[in-house]
């Protein structure tokens, strides 16, 4: 009862504070602008990629008659569709390639990230909803709460409250509850707008998965804000003056939200080095030439394959084979190069994940990092979702090239590169359709950050309970 009274008092007082109303108004405006611009950018990117996927398919279907292997060289493109929630959190989408060229013999990396055509501004970040929620709302929370105890201590109103029978925890949790409502009031409208936009664009027919992602997104930030409110009010309770409280909180904010994210990423990159693209290509070429183990050169592999196929068909020369030997050679080559690419791309991705894991570990001490990670994951704009797209595009590429090579094998004779397939053959190859993995998959990828956040939250509540015992009210 008394806690609710205290909460109501804080809520009312804050609303009457003109400085706060102005600051909150600005943040709310930024949030709405971020939602709107984010949504516009998202729509235009999503539309362009959708169109680009369609025109890539049209180009594939409309290509001239050629032999199937030439078609594999002609290749096609996979453009990465934007996930529904990515307009709330661009995550790494600006920095990951938007399309993959799918061709025979080779696995290409995704190319043409939006960051490459950005100006120097990109170094300052992007004003997305996630940016406002992760950086600015905590700062506003600090402004809101830093003097909540220290001011009352100076004004001697705390004694008054204590004489009414309020205990320190009553005071503390009452204030936390009051300020949480204020933050909710600030963020609520923008999130409602975001939800409205999201469902309006799908004709209010969004999938359950998208809905669930949005709900978790909201819950995640609710927890994040709660941590900041609880922490700020606690610092205020423990501080001797408003000034000390403010300096402590601002210091924490700068270290947690500005310095640590950069430092962990930079240190991660320095600790776990990746090859240059020159060395990477060289290693792949060497593995193809000399064999993945270095003892199985391509010439030996070719001879072995010839022996095996001749024995299989019971003939003594390639020309007597009833099938096109080139088709077989190319498909076996494809399998081998795929293995080589998988090995090197796999090692590279592992190394990137090792670099990123530094931020995940620091996330146990810094909830900002954990929330950033989870938020990207829920929005489908993190590295894991990008890798999922790349893996599925590669799967599709391999299937397509295999189909073309196998067709080559059966429809013409060895050495015949002139015979072409009719155009309707292109239509028989399946189209590439990317499906976003379900939310459960995303959560498993970020379990560590989830754990970090839970642990941090529990530690904070535990620390607060302990710390409150020694707080002097007056």
């Amino acid at each position: 009862m008394i806690r609710q009274l205290i909460a109501r008092n804080e809520f009312t007082q804050t609303r009457r504070d003109r400085r706060f109303v102005v600051a909150a108004g600005v943040v709310l405006l930024l949030l709405v602008v971020a939602t709107w611009t984010g949504f516009r950018n998202y729509r235009s990117l999503a539309d362009k990629r959708e169109q680009a996927n369609q025109s890539a398919r049209a180009a594939w279907l409309g290509q001239t008659e050629k032999n199937p292997h030439s078609a594999a060289h002609y290749g096609t493109f996979a453009f990465r569709p934007k996930s529904d929630l990515s307009f709330l959190d661009f995550g790494l989408d600006t920095y990951t390639g938007a399309s993959v060229y799918l061709e025979g013999h080779r696995q290409n990396d995704a190319k043409f990230s939006a960051a490459e055509d950005a100006t120097v501004l990109i170094r300052f970040g992007e004003m997305t909803v996630a940016f406002v929620l992760q950086l600015l709302i905590p700062l506003l929370t600090i402004f809101l709460c830093f003097s909540t105890f220290t001011r009352e201590r100076v004004e001697n109103t705390l004694k008054l409250l204590v004489s009414q029978g309020a205990s320190t925890p009553d005071l503390y949790w009452g204030k936390v509850w009051g300020y949480s409502q204020v933050v909710g009031l600030m963020v609520g409208p923008a999130l409602l707008l975001a939800g409205g936009l999201l469902f309006a664009q799908t004709g209010f027919d969004a999938t359950a998965d998208t809905g669930l992602r949005l709900v978790l997104f909201v819950l995640l930030y609710a927890l994040y804000f709660f941590l900041f409110v609880a922490g700020s009010v606690f610092v205020s309770a423990r501080s001797s003056s408003s000034r000390n409280s403010l300096l402590t909180l601002l210091g924490v904010w700068i270290v947690a939200c500005i310095i640590l994210p950069k430092a962990t990423a930079n240190l991660g990159e320095s600790l776990f080095s990746v090859p240059s693209s020159y060395a990477f290509r060289k290693q792949i070429n060497e593995d193809q030439e000399k064999g993945i183990d270095g003892h199985n050169p391509s010439s030996a592999r070719a001879k072995e394959l010839e022996k095996k196929i001749l024995a299989q068909y019971g003939v003594d020369s390639v020309s007597k084979l009833p099938v096109n030997f080139d088709g077989i050679v190319m498909q076996e080559g494809e399998k081998y190069t795929s293995m080589v690419y998988q090995k090197h791309f796999g090692a590279l991705q592992d190394q990137f994940e090792r670099q990123n894991s530094l931020a995940d570990i620091v996330g146990f001490l810094n909830p900002y990092l954990a929330v950033r990670d989870l938020s990207m994951g829920l929005s489908g704009s993190d590295y894991a979702h990008f890798l999922d797209f790349k893996a599925k595009a590669e799967q599709y590429r391999f299937g397509l090239v295999e189909r073309l090579n196998n067709h080559m094998k059966t429809f013409s004779k060895t050495g015949d590169w002139e015979k072409t397939v009719s155009r309707d053959f292109w239509a028989q190859t399946p189209d590439f359709q990317y499906q976003l993995p379900p939310v459960g998959w995303a959560l498993r990828r970020h379990a560590l950050s989830g754990l970090a956040l839970m642990l941090f939250g529990s530690m904070l509540v535990w620390g607060v309970r302990r710390g409150l015992k020694t707080v002097s009210i007056a």
Binding site: V33, T37, N41, A114, T119, V120, G125, L246, S276
Partner: protein, 469 residues
């Protein structure tokens, strides 16, 4: 005047005794040292790769040159000699060169866009637009977070240091009850505030200059060669800090309580360094969109492959009558001439697309520089990147140099290809070589600096005017 110095001395003693100064300077010092270390590691990794590709090029070209001198009366030498004297083989698959974007001496201080763009490129005789637009391997998460380099320390952290040292420079007198004592002295409020701001500015600048000078031995900067650039770099940092001194002077002149000042100053920092740049970035991607989906044609080799040789060659010879040698025949060997004609056709098709793209990016940059007045942080970072040769503009200039080199490279080989002439060992000394020209030495900082200083002047003017009231 002695009173004035007394006040300053007292102020200095108070600053020195407070734990805040030492702690803050310690944090920023560590950040600065880490920034040097990081910048150095980053650049030396790129340099190691550059050394590797240069070694690769030297080995290839040296062995080709040796093959071109082989004695062909020995049968075994024939294939090697044939490769090394074939103009096409050396021009395209075997003798390609690496065009390297050498990091400047100041690159470790402001790494700029060096992680986003490739800094070496193999250039052969193929269509140039099929070769450009490579990318270097980079962790997208790292790219999104950006560098912890010296430019970051100066632009993001030093203003915070200055704010923390100064937000209460006047209000603390009121809060300690010494304000009336101070006002009873024969010095004006303007003098006091200006002197206190100047003291803190001097402190931070001494720190800035000290660390920048420390960069000279740490990063191995050659003063005789790059001293001028370093001085310019320092000038920009000083002007940027002066701007923040102006912000502080203006805010303090309103004579509000410490907590209020701290909030307003941090608000200024937030708006100028964080909110406005990110907001502008968002608006820019919306108002000046760049569509990269059209770039697929740069990747896919589909143009003009199905046209007969004569159709491709006819307009080619019309453009290059000096390559037309009707009496040269390529009997018995694969005629390579249509290959070059197709390459050029491809380049001609793609050139407008690339030009359109580059114009769009330049237009975005023009919009950003129009905002420099309001965005000192962006202004300063662009000046830093310009001086370090790590800006997007520097990258575009590098790409232009690659195109020029490609033209020179082909101009050397193509007459030999079309005449069906063999290369001689003497030709190997005449091969066009890559020579990178950095844009950094010619980078002008005048107008950017002026914008910073004008903002500073306005802010100090505002404070001066307010303090008289």
């Amino acid at each position: 005047m002695t009173v004035f110095w007394l006040i300053l001395k007292n102020d200095w003693l108070r600053l020195r005794r407070g734990r805040a100064l030492a702690a803050l300077l310690g944090i920023v010092l560590l950040s600065g040292l880490y920034a040097f270390l990081y910048g150095q590691t980053f650049v030396s990794r790129q340099q190691a790769t550059i050394a590797e590709v240069k070694q690769d090029e030297r080995t290839r070209l040296d062995s080709l040159a040796a093959w071109a001198r082989l004695d062909t009366s020995i049968a075994g030498n024939k294939p090697k000699w044939a490769t090394a004297t074939n103009a096409y083989e050396v021009n395209v698959p075997e003798g390609y060169r690496f065009a390297v974007h050498e990091p400047s001496a100041l690159a470790p201080l402001s790494l700029g866009m060096r992680d986003l763009f490739p800094y070496y490129q193999d250039v052969g005789g193929r269509a140039i637009y099929r070769q450009l637009f490579q990318q270097e391997i980079a962790n997208p998460q790292k790219l999104s977070v950006g560098h912890f380099d010296w430019a970051f320390v100066v632009i993001f952290l030093l203003p915070l240091l200055l704010i923390t040292l100064s937000y209460n420079l006047l209000s603390t007198e009121t809060e300690l009850g010494t304000y009336s004592l101070l006002r009873s002295q024969p010095v004006t409020l303007r003098q006091i505030v200006l002197a206190k701001v100047a003291l803190r500015l001097l402190l931070v600048m001494a720190f800035l200059v000290g660390l920048t000078l420390l960069a000279v031995p740490v990063l191995g900067i050659n003063l005789a060669q790059d001293g001028g650039l370093l001085v310019k770099f320092l000038l920009v940092s000083v002007a940027y800090l002066l701007f923040w001194g102006g912000v502080i002077f203006a805010v303090v002149s309103f004579q509000k309580p410490s907590a209020f000042n701290a909030l307003v100053l941090l608000g200024c920092w937030l708006v100028l360094v964080v909110a406005l740049p990110t907001l502008l970035q968002q608006v820019l991607t919306m108002s000046q969109p760049i569509d990269r989906t059209t770039f697929e044609n740069l990747v896919r080799d589909q143009y003009s492959q199905e046209q007969p040789d004569s159709v491709v060659l006819k307009p080619y010879y019309a453009r290059h009558p000096d390559y037309y040698f009707p009496n040269v025949s390529a009997k018995g060997v694969f005629d390579i001439r249509p290959y070059y004609a197709r390459n050029e056709q491809l380049d001609r098709t793609l050139a407008p697309l690339v030009e359109q793209y580059e114009t769009a990016v330049a237009a975005r940059e023009a919009t950003v520089s129009g905002w420099h007045w309001l965005l000192p942080a962006i202004n300063a970072l662009e000046l830093f990147n310009g001086l370090a040769g790590t800006s997007a503009t520097a990258h575009r200039d590098y790409i232009r140099q690659i195109r020029d080199f490609h033209t020179r490279w082909n101009a050397f080989f193509l007459p030999k290809v079309f005449k069906n002439e063999r290369l001689t060992p003497a030709d190997y000394d005449q091969f066009p070589a890559w020579q990178f020209q950095s844009t950094a030495p010619g980078f002008a900082i005048g107008s950017g600096l002026l914008k910073l200083l004008l903002g500073t002047l306005l802010l100090f003017g505002l404070g001066w005017w307010r303090l008289n009231r």
